[in-house]
């Protein structure tokens, strides 16, 4: 799974390096698009519920469980919670990828994209996706898809974060690709002293007119002992 790292407030970039891949369980992660607060709070809540479920059942949580909890929560709010999520993970039954929309509909698919850059990213996926890809190929494809969003969509930008979940471990690569590092200034643009020639120097004393003089004695105030 991959994500960009730009958080916007309309047309202003609020955070140039925010983390959009959220932890749900040791084997389940969720990318969040939409309102940052909604995605953060929703994923935190479901992460807590999954943890409780894990303790009560004694089993590794399933991705479908997280999917159910998320969709049932979002449906209850009829789309007012603006969280568009990409949920992925590996459990005892296999590996799964879901896309979850704010109204509560979910799709279980081999490749999904969400967010403002989703069209650019999906274009890359549709061109490059093959079934049973190797890990390196898949990482490159996801990176390219996010990059398409970063460079062609104004709502996406900065770095590419990746999260690779396998049966044995999770690789949380943040950043995976820093594609938008601030450039280093090539030259020194400071003007040397003396560049502008001084033709004349004149010192004028500013005159203050005395309007009023008042003399006051300062005596210590008596203590208030009431």
């Amino acid at each position: 799974m991959g994500a960009d790292t730009r958080a916007t407030e309309d047309t202003i970039v609020a955070d140039k390096n925010c983390s959009k891949i959220h932890y749900i369980a040791p084997n389940i992660y969720c990318c969040g698009a939409g309102t940052a607060a909604d995605t953060e709070m929703t994923t935190n809540m479901i992460s807590s519920q999954i943890e409780l479920h894990r303790l009560n059942t004694g089993r590794t949580p399933r991705v479908c469980t997280a999917n159910r909890l998320l969709k049932q929560f979002l449906f209850r709010y009829h789309g007012y919670i603006s969280a568009a999520l990409v949920l992925g993970g590996v459990d005892t039954t296999g590996s799964y990828l879901y896309s979850i929309h704010p109204h509560g509909s979910t799709d279980k698919l081999p490749y999904v994209t969400m967010g403002s850059g989703s069209l650019a990213a999906m274009a890359v996926f549709e061109d490059g996706f093959k079934a049973e890809m190797e890990k390196e190929e898949a990482m490159k494809l996801v990176r390219d898809a996010i990059a398409a969003g970063i460079f062609n969509d104004l709502g996406s930008g900065s770095n590419v974060d990746l999260c690779i979940i396998t049966k044995d471990k999770v690789e949380y690569l943040r950043p995976y690709d820093e594609a938008n590092l601030k450039g280093v200034r090539q030259g020194n643009y400071r003007y040397k002293k003396g560049t502008t020639a001084v033709l004349k120097k004149e010192v004028v004393k500013s005159m203050f007119e005395v309007v009023k003089t008042q003399v006051k004695t300062t005596k210590p105030e008596s203590m208030d002992t009431t």
């Binding site: 807590s48 409780l52 009560n56």
Partner: protein, 235 residues
Amino acid sequence: MSERYSFSLTTFSPSGKLVQIEYALAAVAAGAPSVGIKASNGVVLATEKKQKSILYDENSMHKIEMITKNVGMVYSGMGPDYRVLIKSARKLAQQYYLAYQEHIPTAQIVQRIANVMQEYTQSGGVRPFGVSLLIAGWDEDEERPYLYQCDPSGAYFAWKATAMGKNYVNGKTFLEKRYSENLELEDAVHTAILTLKESFEGQMTEDNIEIGICNQDGFRRLNPTEVKDYLASVQ
């Protein structure tokens, strides 16, 4: 909680005691022995898990349970009451995490559980819990272990080492002699097994006791193979 009674069934006796709590403590003292020892680098919880028949599937249910990854607990007394408290404790721990983005410190979860137990001594139509809990935790910030006991009254105590359940007086006396400040976790497990052995009738095996440890790697219940190794070094 019952909606029928609005008055508490736990009422004061003329001598100033709450007899229901006294009886609850008696239920605890009649329960299976459990032991907790705080070492310099961790805490160990141990309990007897004797089943009445060989037909019981011992490994399907556990007495030592995890609350969060850094806190675990065990009980003496009534099993069903314990299960209610585990569920409550786990939920409280998650609520704390959601609110503060921090794993609940041991002292905090103990206070919350004790508060739940106290509520049941002063609410309408309910009875006190028939369990005493031993809660073991590792504090990430302070990098130290904690061991607490929670009683049916809602009172809680921090211990260096303690015993509960049947023969707890003998257990405590044994611990008083054996405990030292610079005990390591390995030795503490050893001592815990010996303490349980004092009141154990019959042969101790890896299937009729349960051991849990809590150190900087978190809380975990030892699997039967590990328990067997410890027992072998005791025998």
